[in-house]
């Protein structure tokens, strides 16, 4: 279940969009005890100026992404825009039965996009 992606790279400034991964849809609901799914989200949006300029608490004011957006606004054909990628991620845990009838709890880092950024 995802927020509709709007074209390639269009659809406003770079930000996290909602994406819910349902274990039932992947067909794992019989052996995954919990959770039923999780909000993974994804990044999409424009990384042109001023969206590329970092917000409060963001990376240094002038990093490569800003330089590249400046170059693009000056000579669009020279370089593309920076990419809208995950900037902060968080983990999930999955509780399930394995094939030896053990109850297993596994912890996975970097499974949920909390913040996106231009890089």
């Amino acid at each position: 279940d995802a927020e509709p992606a709007v074209g390639r790279g269009l659809g406003g400034a770079c930000r996290a969009r909602r994406l819910y991964v349902s274990f039932r849809e992947v067909g794992w609901h019989r052996w995954v005890i919990a959770p039923r799914g999780f909000l993974a989200n994804y990044c999409q949006g424009q990384c042109s100026l001023p969206a590329t300029l970092p917000g409060p608490g963001g990376p240094p004011a002038l990093n490569h992404a800003v330089l590249r957006a400046l170059m693009h606004s000056a000579v669009p054909s020279a370089t593309g825009l920076p990419c809208c990628v995950p900037a902060r991620l968080s983990p999930i845990s999955v509780l399930f039965f394995d094939n030896s009838d053990n109850v297993v709890l596994r912890h996975y880092e970097d499974m949920v996009v909390d913040e996106c950024g231009c890089r």
Binding site: A34, S100, V103
Partner: protein
């Protein structure tokens, strides 16, 4: 259903060799596993902030509740305790010994055990409940061939009203060694003074391992 290729790739990325065949009907999820899941899963924590203090940062690859490093926790049931009643010459007197077997073949060689807690639930004989002075539990290796098995550890047990727990790491196998594929132990519970023998209801193993391939060092705090 997702295309098999995609689902298989995701399964592999999650470190699972194959798709588990589904929950065994007769096996409830142990409360300890629910508790660990609810404490561990950030999205659970977000929906019920009472369980974790706001702003608490959970260290990656660490099981806070048990205070050990780890990112995989398994609750493994004994594969059926075989009871042997020994004659009066047995070191444990008249009481029974049990052989318990844990199948650890699901544990990958890259996983380093950090915690292996054996939990046993006993039932006392009705007639003379409670042995004065408590009990002594001994955990040993099963004898191979004719020789007697070696005792790995002994522990005083005051009451059988609550589960008896012993830490096996460092006793059943070396701390920095990977887990054996199978663990066969002999349990004996001897009343310290005269009293009735007990019977073993259930034995399980709570095993915590660290798969460093799935760990990322804590990101450096922003300068």
């Amino acid at each position: 259903p997702a295309a098999p290729g995609a689902a298989a790739a995701l399964l592999q990325a999650l470190g699972l060799r194959d798709t588990p065949q589904g929950a065994p009907k007769s096996r409830p999820v142990p409360p300890v596993m629910w508790r660990l899941f609810r404490r561990r899963d950030p999205q659970e924590a977000r929906t019920s902030p009472r369980r974790t203090s706001p702003g608490a940062i959970q260290r990656p690859c660490h099981v806070e509740e048990l205070g050990v490093a780890g990112n995989i926790v398994r609750h493994i049931l004994d594969r059926g305790a075989r009871a042997r009643t020994l004659g009066p010459t047995s070191p444990t007197g008249q009481c029974t010994e049990w052989t318990v077997v844990f199948d650890l073949s699901a544990v990958e060689p890259d996983e380093l055990p950090s915690h292996a807690r054996l939990e046993m639930r006993f039932a006392e004989a009705e007639a003379t409940a409670g042995a004065a002075g408590g009990w002594e539990l001994s955990v040993g290796r099963e004898a191979e061939g004719e020789g007697a098995g070696s005792v790995l550890l002994r522990q005083a047990v005051a009451t059988l009203g609550t589960p008896v727990r012993v830490e096996l790491l460092g006793a059943a196998w070396a701390r920095n060694a990977s887990a054996p594929r199978s663990l066969r132990l002999v349990l004996a519970l001897r009343p310290r003074a005269f009293g009735a023998c007990a019977s073993l209801i259930e034995a399980s193993l709570l095993l915590v391992t660290l798969d460093s391939r799935l760990c990322h060092p804590l990101t450096r705090p922003r300068r």
